[in-house]
């Protein structure tokens, strides 16, 4: 009988089956059903953003209310969020698009978000340098092999490698195209077979953890 948890299981089974069939048979009526499903998906995806916003703000409002550790950072986040939303709406009303180059939203994007995110990512270079120095040790044969390969690839992937030896970039290409790819393919096949298995289990209602 269709009651309780059986309803979402039945929906999952039906929709999953339709999507699989329509992917491989993109003709009427399956093609049309797929297009309608995709429209629904886009609408739902839009709403998930609202859900994300609700979750993010809820978390930070709670932090501020309870004066948890670093609650002042949460105030900055909330203030930033409100400022960006107002700027986006105002830019759309004023210029037709929030991303119009005259809008304050674009100003925030270009002069706050771009430098902040770029800086965050750039910091990786400093941490990688420190980690490489402290942790990348040839403790055994496997680690030594990895270390030597890494050094060859690091040299071969930059122009100075060509200057050291014309064979270095070619050897690097071989490493990338043969041993690296063999390992990657093995991992990839494992991942996708696993994903396939989980998908089938979800469609058939064996895997139900998403309901809890």
């Amino acid at each position: 009988m269709l009651k309780g948890k059986n309803i979402p299981l039945a929906i999952t089974f039906t929709v999953g089956l339709i999507m699989i069939v329509s992917f491989f048979i993109p003709h009427r009526p399956f093609g049309d059903i797929e297009q309608i499903s995709l429209k629904w998906y886009s609408i739902i995806a839009g709403f998930t953003m609202l859900l994300g916003v609700d979750s993010l703000l809820g978390l930070h409002f709670r932090k501020v209310k309870r004066k948890e550790e670093n609650w002042i950072h949460s105030i900055v986040l909330i203030a930033g969020f409100v400022m960006v939303v107002i700027a986006g709406v105002w830019g759309t009303i004023q210029y037709g698009s929030a991303f119009d180059e005259r809008s304050f939203f674009t100003y925030i994007y270009n002069y706050f978000i771009v430098p902040l995110q770029s800086t965050m990512f750039s910091l990786l270079a400093f941490f990688v340098a420190s980690a490489a120095y402290r942790a990348f040790r040839a403790r055994n044969v496997d680690a030594a092999l990895l270390l030597i390969t890494a050094i060859i690839v690091m040299l071969g992937r930059v122009p100075v490698g060509e200057l050291i030896s014309p064979y270095l970039p070619k050897f690097t290409d071989w490493i990338m195209e043969v041993p690296q790819m063999a390992a990657k393919r093995g991992i990839g096949l494992g991942i996708y077979l696993g994903a396939l298995g989980v998908s089938i289990r979800i469609i058939l209602g064996i895997e139900r953890s998403y309901l809890s």
Binding site: F99, T106, P115, A132, I151, M154, P159, D173
Partner: protein
């Protein structure tokens, strides 16, 4: 042992300072190391150069945000310039909300620089290039594009109806696009490969960050992608190709970073070697 202890206990802030110097100095005093064009970059260049007819359409996926723009922005710029040299139309598309800002930045800068350098061949927003509006859904959007691109987006990112834009003339599905280059530092590349290439047979090339490039060699070998730009070096190689073949004289954003990247890699290798020497000396002394 004194030296070993000193090296072992060195304050990491000294390493940070050295990294900064190693990156900054080559920008001030460039060396200009020679650069070989790798086959995946050449292959992408050749396809755009030889296989797309005039007024053909190049779709560029701007699926990145400012965190990876240092590597991917120069690729987008070089590709746009290459398309302009060959009088191709360029459509930017993004599956990331932040990609809109990236795409518009490239369009604004490229149009300004191109038009001031080429007054006899002016390019125009909406006629030669545009950015499709961001629509959430990723794989759903890619699949919808296979059936009807204008109905999927309705507008460009500037709020113009797609049906009124000359750049969209004759474009309905992937079949009306000549080539796509997906620029991303994330796994969204796989979605494009699965849906646009796998299902709709869209001819594709990939541009990605150096750290992600290893991931996509298998797609290159299988023929699902016919070109790969890997990191800043991939972009620098592309800049070199358009400079040699089309006389590109603008700022080479990726090429200027090549010396810094070379010196940083050498510095990292020295650090690793030094760290290991210290490790083995210490191990030897402790064993004694």
């Amino acid at each position: 042992m004194k030296f070993v202890n000193f090296i072992n206990n060195i304050d990491k802030r000294w390493i940070y300072l050295l990294v900064a110097l190693v990156v900054i100095i080559p920008f001030v005093f460039p060396v200009g190391c020679p650069m070989r064009i790798t086959p995946p970059v050449q292959s992408m260049y050749n396809y755009i150069e030889d296989s797309i007819p005039e007024n053909g359409v190049l779709l560029v996926g701007i699926d990145y945000d400012p965190s990876t723009m240092a590597e991917l922005h120069p690729m987008a710029k070089a590709l746009t310039y290459h398309a302009f040299y060959n009088n191709l139309r360029v459509l930017f598309v993004t599956m990331y909300p932040q990609g809109s800002g990236m795409g518009q930045d490239i369009i604004d800068k490229t149009l300004t620089q191109w038009n001031s350098a080429n007054p006899e061949n002016q390019k125009e927003l909406g006629r030669d290039i545009t950015l499709l509006a961001y629509v959430p859904g990723v794989s759903a959007v890619m699949l919808k594009m296979g059936e009807n691109i204008p109905a999927t987006f309705n507008e460009d990112a500037y709020g113009n109806k797609l049906e009124n834009l000359p750049v969209m003339d004759g474009i309905k599905t992937y079949n009306n696009l000549n080539y796509m280059v997906e620029l991303a530092g994330s796994s969204v590349v796989l979605s494009w490969l699965m849906y646009a290439n796998g299902r709709y047979k869209m001819k594709m090339g990939i541009g990605t960050t150096a750290v992600s490039a290893a991931e996509y060699y298998s797609y290159l070998q299988s023929g699902q992608s016919n070109g790969l730009l890997g990191g800043l070096k991939g972009a620098a190689e592309y800049e070199k190709l358009i400079t040699e073949n089309h006389g590109y004289a603008g700022r080479k954003d990726a090429s200027v970073g090549m010396d810094a990247q070379s010196s940083a890699h050498i510095f990292f290798i020295l650090l690793i070697v030094l760290g290991n020497i210290v490790f083995f000396i210490k191990k030897y002394k402790e064993g004694k």
